[in-house]
């Protein structure tokens, strides 16, 4: 029995009312769903609330999962993505077009991205590994448009293949690749341009 069959059996048990099966599903997928929510929303608190909403939605709609159409992982990601889009479509968290010189979190006395990226003594790899730089990348990711952000999150953070991403986003595979490329390029420009400005 491969992984897909095992997961499908788990889902069938859950649909038939097995609470232990549902607990197992929650244990298996909560980390992944939380990470998608966290990288998309940019806030740990929002991510926790959104992940709970995702599981509530999953619990109610688990009976609609069709094993012939997609894998359970793809279905879970689709549910998560749709809920995130619905949540953020209200406009509150639409693309933020702040200047790169703006301080994150609207803190007037905070450091700019350029200031925070400035670390003349370390190599790029060392900076990436530092916790501070991770925050900068995370902040830059929040500044991508939602279309580009969700594409790069699914590809580079969740390691999904293009075909599954196309199913989740409901767009052609070529569009998925284009969005991923644009997202990566925009993120790199956002970070590198400030690093150059800082120097």
């Amino acid at each position: 029995m491969d992984d897909n069959q095992a997961v499908n059996a788990l889902v069938r048990r859950c649909v038939s009312g097995d609470a232990a099966a549902w607990q197992e599903i929650v244990q298996q997928y909560h980390r992944r769903i939380y990470n998608i929510c966290y990288r998309f929303s940019g806030s740990a608190d929002d991510a926790s609330d959104l992940a709970q909403e995702v599981f509530i939605k999953m619990y109610r709609t688990l009976g609609t999962f069709d094993t012939t159409r997609a894998s359970f992982m793809t279905w879970v990601t689709t549910v998560t993505r749709n809920l995130l889009v619905d949540h953020f479509r209200k406009g509150k968290y639409d693309r933020i077009t702040d200047s790169l010189d703006a301080t994150p979190g609207d803190q007037e006395d905070g450091l700019t991205f350029a200031d925070r990226l400035e670390d003349k003594g370390a190599s790029p790899e060392a900076r990436v590994r530092s916790q501070e730089t991770q925050k900068l990348v995370h902040e830059a990711l929040k500044r991508l448009s939602p279309e580009l952000r969700e594409a790069v999150i699914l590809r580079d953070l969740q390691d999904m293949d293009y075909k599954d991403i196309a199913k989740v986003l409901n767009v052609p595979e070529g569009t998925v690749k284009s969005r991923i490329n644009r997202g990566r390029t925009e993120l790199a420009r956002l970070l590198q341009r400030n690093y150059k400005q800082a120097n």
Binding site: Q27, A51, V128, H138, R184
Partner: protein, 256 residues
Amino acid sequence: MAGELQSEMQCAQVEALLAEILDGTLQGETLTGCEAHQQSCAACRTMVQEARAGMHWLNALDEAEPPANLVHNILAKTIGALPSEHAPVKQRGEGWLEKLKGRLAPMFAPIATPRFAMSFGMAFFSITMLLGIAGFHFADVRHWDLSSKGIRRTYYEAQARCMRYYENMRVVYEIESRVRDLRRAGTPDQSAQPQQQQPQQEAPAPNQKNPSKTENRQHGTRPQTYSRDNGEPMLATFPAVMLAAIPQARQNRRTA
């Protein structure tokens, strides 16, 4: 052959193959053509470098650690049960009230939200305000007579109030008056015919033009003093006439 491909490779093709270039899945002549094009085209070379840098930035991000109570919260909100490793120690002597709360909590979880509470509060406020405007006060409830006799009396009083309200409406009088006018206009001969037949009968005494109530009872007739009969046409908008027509209209409805 490879030389032809290199010369034919365009920027758009390199851009379309960018994902495969970064994934390292390009092979053979296509890979060679892309590399050759990048060497000759600065824009494509920069594009590939930027996309690769962005991919490295993203791949370097660590997985975020979810809160410790996330699984507990999810299970509490869905099945209302807790996994064994997250379940709190069950206290001794847990009463039936706690058990009932535990069973009802998941059922009421969807409505136990701030939005629902706000909607419920607004609805309650609106209903209370409307009842206040309508004259209903909760403080008066204790003065209510809830015996069967009292309820019956309240019912008849309310019915009578409604009837009075309806009968005192100006528009009702006007409609009734118009209907009477139309009936009279539609049957002009019926009113004239009895007048012609009257001389054949015994001539009435002079005091029968305005007979008293006692005389009417003796003759089995009732005073005909309203415009519905052969009197003067009644103006619907004239208040005095309308007031005079009220008792007859009531009598007509009751007999009807």
